[in-house]
Point group: C2
Chain length 274, copies 2
Amino acid sequence: MSDIRPIGVFDSGLGGLTVVHELREALPEEQLIYLGDTLRCPYGGRSIEAIKTFSREITTFLMKQNVKMIVVACNTVSAVALDDVMEIAGDIPVLGVVGPGSRAAIHTSVDRRVGVIGTKATVRAGAYGNGIRALDDRVTVYEKACPLLVPLVEEGFIDSKVTELVLEEYLDELIDLGVDTLVLGCTHYPLLAKPIHRVLGGRIEVIDSAWWTARETKQILTDRNELAVTREGHDRFYATDMTDEFNRQASIFLRGQMDAIIEIDLHNELNEIQ
Amino acid sequence: MSDIRPIGVFDSGLGGLTVVHELREALPEEQLIYLGDTLRCPYGGRSIEAIKTFSREITTFLMKQNVKMIVVACNTVSAVALDDVMEIAGDIPVLGVVGPGSRAAIHTSVDRRVGVIGTKATVRAGAYGNGIRALDDRVTVYEKACPLLVPLVEEGFIDSKVTELVLEEYLDELIDLGVDTLVLGCTHYPLLAKPIHRVLGGRIEVIDSAWWTARETKQILTDRNELAVTREGHDRFYATDMTDEFNRQASIFLRGQMDAIIEIDLHNELNEIQ
């Protein structure tokens, strides 16, 4: 049996398209519906209360699209508002990127010393630290906020001396602490994989939460017997604000073709739902 | 006669506190009411339509506070939505930071070659270029978007090698174009005055729009006979979202003491007004 309902994916902005990229690789037959809250991004520096409100609004919108599962591609939301998403999603499974990243870190770290880099909100919430310690309390987790990496990626400073200097400033502390595994706890960071590997110098394993999230999504749908066997329709991309810049950024994160992004007014959409 | 009504000041976030700093220096008897839209900042990369909507909402809120003048401390809003602010302000004078900065550039440039640095939205709108050419069409204006400077300031990378490298990347082009005057077209940039002067090497005059805006505000209130002779009350600071981080940043921008920031829900406030 083929469950042709789409998978809903959302992020504060367009960075979550790195998760869409991995989902497409792992699940080419699935239709995806993506929402990027570009009107209010970035979430990383906002209050937890604000992030919870935004997450509830977006989940309500996705539920209206008859999705069979929700993937929270935003580390910040996964860190502080996954309960809110789950509450609104009801029986539909919800997977945030923090869980798969944490589980992968446990399996990878030999010395049980894990570093995590992410936005301020993700680190402030201690999401990966709590997630990893809940699985194995012998693991020591060092979390480091790296707020400059998102703007550097968005401005295309990827293979740049500037980015390498900033990465050194952020990562040297984690290297000195002796971590053997580093979790990329933000959707933007996989695009910095090359300079990150250069700064780490081959001594540390790097965990890409997006890749592991796609793998677990496939597992969940398989277990529930809800995989799509044949693709029903094109993926749909929504954003709450649009500029030409966003189109350019989207293609960077997605690393591939995408249909036009549709601009929506989330408050209007939700009023219609009520 | 002393006009004790407050002056309303707003910005997309907390950067506009650099304008408050200058207003306090120039007009110590005036009470100020500041609103920073920290829930939706930064505006710099958003669509013009979104910026117009936000500006109308904030102006409506400030008018409710019985202000005698509105200072738009946000270069982005001054660039793309000043008309919207004026429409709602009615008879109350409105001053954006772009006008004073443009006028100062005209008076300063000897070779009639002016460089402007700002956010993407400010540069995309060509605000300073249009403003300066409207005053003197013999002046050539080169505008350059520098989107990394705001996050660098907010993360405290002020006297840092990283910031100097980024500034070189942005400013070398303007230096090569032979500008003799550089307008700091973003509220955050005055905090980078030192590294900017270092990169420019003393060859170029730097215009701080915030300083000129405070000077013109004083002139407007003097002309209208609406100056406060004695201070009536404390300044009030509102923000649409609050974290500890914002308190830290506020003190950087304000370079001085401030009362507690009051968090408000702008949509609730506006519903009450209607």
